[in-house]
């Protein structure tokens, strides 16, 4: 036997096979043991698990889905095609009025809940809901099938582009992405161009208070970048410093996100879909009902036709040399984004503000289009071909009574060794507590620009002689600010005189549009008369050259001696400053300041917030 074992090849094979077999049994036994020791994680239960402190309306939605799932067991299939709900990022909006039909009540809520596939950092879809006193109405925004939205946009209520933009906006809320690469043309159809990149700039979700058929009225503004050589007429001129090989366009879309009209009161059994219904959301009668019945599923499970992206390598090819063209776009390099984010986290002290004004400042710092304040300050540097110095700009915000002054910027301090500039901005508490949110936001923008321009002046003047300063080849817009100061009174160069009117001239000549854009983005661009934002951007610029030119006897009224009275006399401005428009500008600013019935902004509610 010993001889057999030691000498026979067959015996060796048998022994090895036995050992392998025994090992395999043991390993599998262990695996089974392991498997049995871990409880199976039910994806449906995970889907229905709520984070703490969610809004009661979100709980209502989850309760409804749970009840339906108990009957139809649809959730596991749904999760495989649409992902998990991010209940913590749900947008919840109360309806504001009672409809004449009495079917929509003041306590109703509209919701938009992002859906995210497991292990993916991208919003894949969304659930739109209306929660009423007696039921919950659903619709699905299915990012996997933009082509079906394009084919049936009338019935669905939105097309593939509007679907993508809404999901991109939710993506920015969930993951912080704000720039997207369009990979499937169906995901961004309808502009007649092959859009390469897109960015949602602002969104206004107005909850419908008149119909259960409509959840939200949606205004969404966005910027797209279209590469040349795809049919567009305008390309880049040779040597154009503003050329980055992409044409930039801004658009706005409006659509109504429809609810499901197939439900009766607390009816969890939707009617069957019509033939050929392959999913999707929106309004109408043949939409995917969200709760699939036998043989019917919502969505393909495919990824959306867009992905979060960084700006392409050649996007900022001429970034450093764009000069004042920086004020014509909100685009920033990733390096500048990083600096702005560092500034937001490390250099801003809001402890002197009350909580409601902090909310306004935070909205300016965390807009869907990014940090509006940080972007403007960065562009002031970049327009002068300067590096971004925002990380050396410390600003502290306060609120206290200032008498007749709306706000002031003071306590300028520049450390010539470190290059760090510190400044204080104070809002008058009386006005800030009565004015609308866009008035206060405009005030913060205006004062922060003042503060940064002061820092720029201190920085440039540090250790520089008059001759050196005059020899500097700054962008012409900067010359309007610093060189004017030097030319006017050379002796003042070495003192710390900041002529507020020089700064105001700079704002009026170069920053009006970007300030107006920022106010619009803050407000959500819901005001159809976009001139209104431009009107508000004039706040405080009443001693500037353009203003005095058009209103020679300012502040006396009526305006006399106005040289340009027709609407086509723009004199380089976006709109002509005719006497009637000057009057409209002042009236608009005043209305927002006192938050009267003619104001468009939100007045402070009881408690001081908006």
């Amino acid at each position: 036997m010993r001889k057999f074992i030691s000498n026979s090849p067959l015996a060796t094979v048998i022994i090895i096979s036995l050992i392998t077999l025994i090992s395999s049994i043991l390993v599998n036994a262990c695996r089974k043991f392991d498997h049995q020791s871990k409880p199976k994680i039910d994806k449906a239960e995970r889907f229905l698990t709520l984070p703490p402190n969610v809004h009661p309306a979100v709980k209502r939605v989850v309760e409804k889905i749970r009840r339906v799932n108990q009957r139809t067991n649809f959730l596991n299939d749904f999760i495989s095609r649409q992902g998990f709900a991010r209940w913590d990022k749900a947008i919840v909006t109360g309806t504001k009025s009672v409809s004449i039909a009495g079917r929509v009540n003041a306590e109703d809520y509209c919701l938009l809940i992002p859906l995210v596939m497991e292990d993916q950092e991208q919003v894949h879809g969304a659930i739109g809901c209306k929660v009423t006193a007696d039921s919950v109405f659903f619709t699905l925004l299915d990012g996997s099938q933009p082509e079906s939205y394009n084919a049936d946009s009338t019935v669905k209520g939105l097309n593939g582009r509007e679907l993508s933009l809404t999901l991109m906006y939710l993506d920015s809320l969930v993951f912080g992405h704000n720039f997207f690469h369009i990979k499937d043309s169906a995901a961004f159809a309808g502009l007649g161009k092959n859009v390469k990149y897109a960015r949602p700039d602002s969104i206004s979700l107005i909850p419908s208070s008149t119909s259960r058929m409509v959840i939200y009225q949606v205004w969404i503004c966005y910027t797209v970048w279209v590469p040349p050589h795809h049919g567009q007429v305008v390309g880049c001129d040779p040597g154009d410093p503003n050329c980055n090989d992409y044409d930039e366009e801004v658009h706005c879309d409006y659509y109504e996100l429809g609810g499901d009209n197939g439900y009766e009161i607390d009816d969890d059994n939707p009617p069957p879909p019509s033939d050929g219904d392959s999913g999707g959301g929106g309004g109408g009668s043949d939409l995917c009902r969200f709760f699939p019945i036998d043989g019917h599923q919502c969505g393909s499970g495919n990824p959306p036709g867009w992905t979060p992206s960084y700006y392409p390598n050649n996007f900022f090819e001429n970034y450093a040399n764009q000069g004042y063209h920086h004020f014509e776009t909100w685009a920033l390099s990733s390096e500048d984004y990083e600096k702005i984010n560092n500034w937001r986290l490390n250099n801003i002290d809001t402890s002197g503000l009350d909580s409601c004004r902090q909310l306004i400042l935070n909205k300016l710092l965390n807009n869907v289009s990014g940090n509006l304040l940080g972007k403007i300050l960065t562009k002031i540097d970049r327009a002068n071909n300067d590096p971004n110095n925002i990380e050396k700009f410390n600003v502290k915000y306060h609120i206290k009574p200032l008498g007749l002054v709306v706000a002031e910027t003071d306590s300028f301090h520049y450390n010539s060794n470190t290059g760090v500039f510190s400044v204080s901005i104070t809002l008058d508490s009386v006005i800030a507590h009565t004015a609308t949110d866009i008035y206060v936001a405009g005030t913060i923008l205006h004062e922060t620009i003042h503060a940064y321009m002061a820092s720029l002046l201190y920085r440039i003047k540090n250790g520089v002689t008059v001759g050196q300063l005059q020899a500097m080849t700054y962008d012409s817009l900067f010359n309007e600010y610093v060189d004017t100061l030097v030319a006017t009174n050379e002796a003042l160069l070495n003192s710390a005189f900041i002529n507020s009117q020089y700064q105001h001239n700079y704002m009026a000549n170069k920053l009006l549009s970007i300030i107006a854009d920022a106010i619009g983005l803050f407000e959500g661009n819901t005001i159809s008369n976009t001139r209104y934002y431009w009107f508000l951007a004039w706040k405080g610029l009443y001693q500037t050259e353009p203003w005095k030119q058009h209103w020679p006897n300012y502040p006396a009224q009526p305006i006399s001696g106005a040289p340009y009275t027709t609407d086509d006399s723009t004199r380089g401005l976006k709109y002509a400053l005719t006497p009637s428009r000057l009057d409209s500008i002042l009236s608009s600013i005043y209305n927002e300041r006192v938050a009267n019935a003619s104001a468009y902004g939100h007045p402070p509610a009881p408690g001081g917030c908006y």
Binding site: L404, V405, V406, A407, E408, T409, D410, S411, F412, T443, H446, E447, H450, A454, L492, S495, A496, F497, I498, N499, S500, Q503, H504, K539, G540, L541, Y542, Q543, Y554, P555, Q557, L586, I589, Y590, R593
Partner: protein, 168 residues
């Protein structure tokens, strides 16, 4: 004796700054100084209530202006921390109309304002120099506050230093 004379000099200036109508030499100096300063500004309306020139404001210029210890003491003794007073100029002065706060508000349609607020000037260095705080108000988010130091040059005053302490 020198310090004693300086103290008298200060008290005379303080008395003069009260605008009590007495035609003292210091009053004349103050009138001359204010007229010189006001004529350099375009604004036609001046608030009759003074804006205080405080120690907090003066701290703003400590890095740029090297005042002698004597000048510092001189200024500190005269400085008005909290109280505002009224200019008693009759109707108009230096081409400006002096109005109180309520009249200023009535005079304009907000937010379109345009007027000055000025502090009482403080004379130091034996009366050869003066410091003043001037606020320009020109409507919502339009205005500034500036500290200015002047030196008397025969009958006129020359601007030595100017610093913006707030802008709007």
């Amino acid at each position: 004796m020198k310090l004693f004379l300086q103290a008298i000099s200060i008290s005379v200036f303080v008395t003069g700054l009260n605008c009590n109508g007495q035609k003292t030499q210091s009053k004349t100096a103050e009138y001359n100084f204010l007229e010189s300063v006001l004529r350099s500004h375009e604004e036609k309306i001046v608030c009759s209530k003074t804006v205080p020139l405080t120690m907090n404001l003066l701290e703003n210029i400590s890095e740029e202006v090297n005042l002698s210890a004597r000048d510092s003491v001189d200024i500190q003794k005269q400085i008005n921390y909290n109280n505002s007073s009224i200019f008693n100029f009759k109707k108009s002065f230096a081409g400006k109309t002096f109005l109180d706060d309520s009249a200023i508000i009535k005079n304009f349609r907000p937010p379109a304002y345009r007027y000055l607020k000025i502090s009482k000037p403080i004379f130091f260095n034996g009366g050869s120099k003066a410091i003043i705080f001037i606020e320009e108000h020109c409507g919502d988010l339009c205005g500034s506050g500036v500290i200015e130091i002047y030196r008397k040059d025969q009958q006129s005053y020359m601007l030595l230093f100017r610093k913006t302490v707030w802008i709007s």
